[in-house]
């Protein structure tokens, strides 16, 4: 579905990604783990078109997309829930969700998409007229995911969706992601919450210092001694 080939990404002269090649299959729940500054967020930002690779290719459903602007990539069905959520704080929950369905392809079925989101996050229906900036952290994260779902994504990318949330809310979010995956959605999840993320992953990559150093199924990586030592402290 999505394939990157030898991505080299720089911030000025600082290289953030070195020859990164990953592949997301249809109906995958692919997890990328790594420590702070490993390049996970940079990878998602590059796929979304917010950063341009100096070298390398990104293919989505067989077509090269590395030169395309973010709105065009979004139109293809690659939707990202960014780190820090990036909600529109002075717009209501309804308006935030509407913005998720901004693209004309999504607009036709607005009512159905609203219902789809409310089935997953019923709390959002109760908060429709509330400003996004006044929601709790957990509710904001639900809104961020709900907003992405409004676009009807083919590939949903999530960057640290449980960062700063209580363990209870984080578990709820992971349960919802697992449910979306079971429903046939393709997901690419970046997380530092290694244990929870690998538990629901169908496959996973480990990135360190801008390079992919490991790839395996989620369960296999959970059993890997290096992963256990470096990320789980066992």
């Amino acid at each position: 579905m999505l394939r990157t080939e030898g991505l080299n990404v720089f911030y000025d002269e600082l290289q953030a990604l070195i020859e990164v090649s990953i592949e997301v299959h249809a109906e995958d729940l692919l997890v990328i783990i790594g420590s702070n500054g490993a390049g996970k967020t940079t990878l998602l930002r590059t796929i979304s078109g917010l950063l341009r690779p100096r070298e390398g290719k990104i293919f989505f459903q067989g077509e090269a997309i590395e030169e395309e602007p973010t709105d065009r990539i979004c139109m293809r069905g690659i939707v990202q829930v960014p780190e820090g959520r990036k909600l529109f704080p002075q717009m209501t929950v309804r308006e935030n969700l509407e913005m998720g369905a901004y693209l004309s392809t999504a607009r036709g079925t607005l009512a159905d998409r609203f219902q789809g989101v409310f089935q997953i996050f019923s709390v959002l229906e109760e908060r429709l007229k509330q400003f996004a900036g006044t929601l709790s952290g957990g509710e904001q994260q639900m809104l961020a995911i709900g907003r992405a779902l409004m676009a009807g994504p083919r590939l949903l990318m999530l960057d640290e969706p449980t960062l700063g949330l209580s363990p209870k809310v984080a578990s709820e979010i992971y349960a919802i992601l697992a449910k979306l995956h079971q429903g046939g959605m393709s997901l690419l999840l970046v997380s530092q919450d290694v244990l929870q993320a690998l538990r629901i992953a169908s496959r996973a990559y480990v990135i360190e210092n801008g390079r992919v150093i490991m790839e395996n199924s989620g369960q296999e990586l959970l059993r890997n001694p290096k992963v256990k030592e470096a990320y789980l402290g066992i």
């Binding site: 973010t70 939707v79 913005m99």
Partner: protein, 305 residues
Amino acid sequence: MQGRQLLVKIRPPLNMLNPIVILQSIVSGLLMGGIFALFGVGFSLTWGVMKVINIAHAAFGIMASYIAYWGLTLYGIDPVLSLCLSLPLLFVTGLLIHRFLIQPITRSRDVVVASMILTFGLAIVLENIMLFAWSPDERLITTAYSSQVIFIGDIIIKVSNLIGFILSLMGILAIYLFLYRTCTGKAVRATWQDPEGAALQGINLRRVSMITFGIAIASAGAGGVAMAYMYSFNPPVHNLWLIFLFLVVIVGGVGSVIGSAIAGLMIGLITGLSGAFFPMQWVNVLLFGLLMGILLIKPEGLFKK
């Protein structure tokens, strides 16, 4: 005796106690505030959404004043009707200026400073075009109804001023409805609040910026025609309006349409009221003293959430 002299010194001027003068000043101030508000809303839009401080904003307004003046004196077209020509013209001009002048500078490290320098140059160009086309003489729009007045009790309202005010309110309402009721308008607000978040929803930031600039310039045109109903104008007068635009936007909060509208009316009201009791130079001292105070206490603006 000394006490009596003191009483005489602190006694307010007679007109300060006259309720009719006060009411008349309030009405005049609000009518003037409507123009401040409409000019301010457009100025605030480009500043908030695009980080572009358009120094030429008021100059576009004066350009529309001249189009209205020309329409009236050459062809007898009512200034309100001239908006049918000047608004689309200014909207398209805004789109073109964005495409060929503003867009290239959005890549610069400091868009605010770059935009100020660029639009400062643009304002000079516009001013000189107007000087060439219409000379530096002051113009005044004089319609058949210019001298007509309405009496509400003892309050006198000039019909032309009322039309200018209604025009301003309609302009603000149109911008409000665009921003809060249309999909593109909501995208403009989203872009202002978080450009990257907006891009990740598939919003084309370049297109949104272009439309915003076009609307802001067109709104300046409506403000210019509204202004021409009330005041005389000449090409350099845009500089004076520009100072008030900064005042409105800083008081109302950058990017806040409702804030700018309220601030515009408020500043008009203060100007009108204080103008009735103090010489004009003291009114400006009061207004800009207020600005400094707001910058010190609430630098994000009074109405910014």
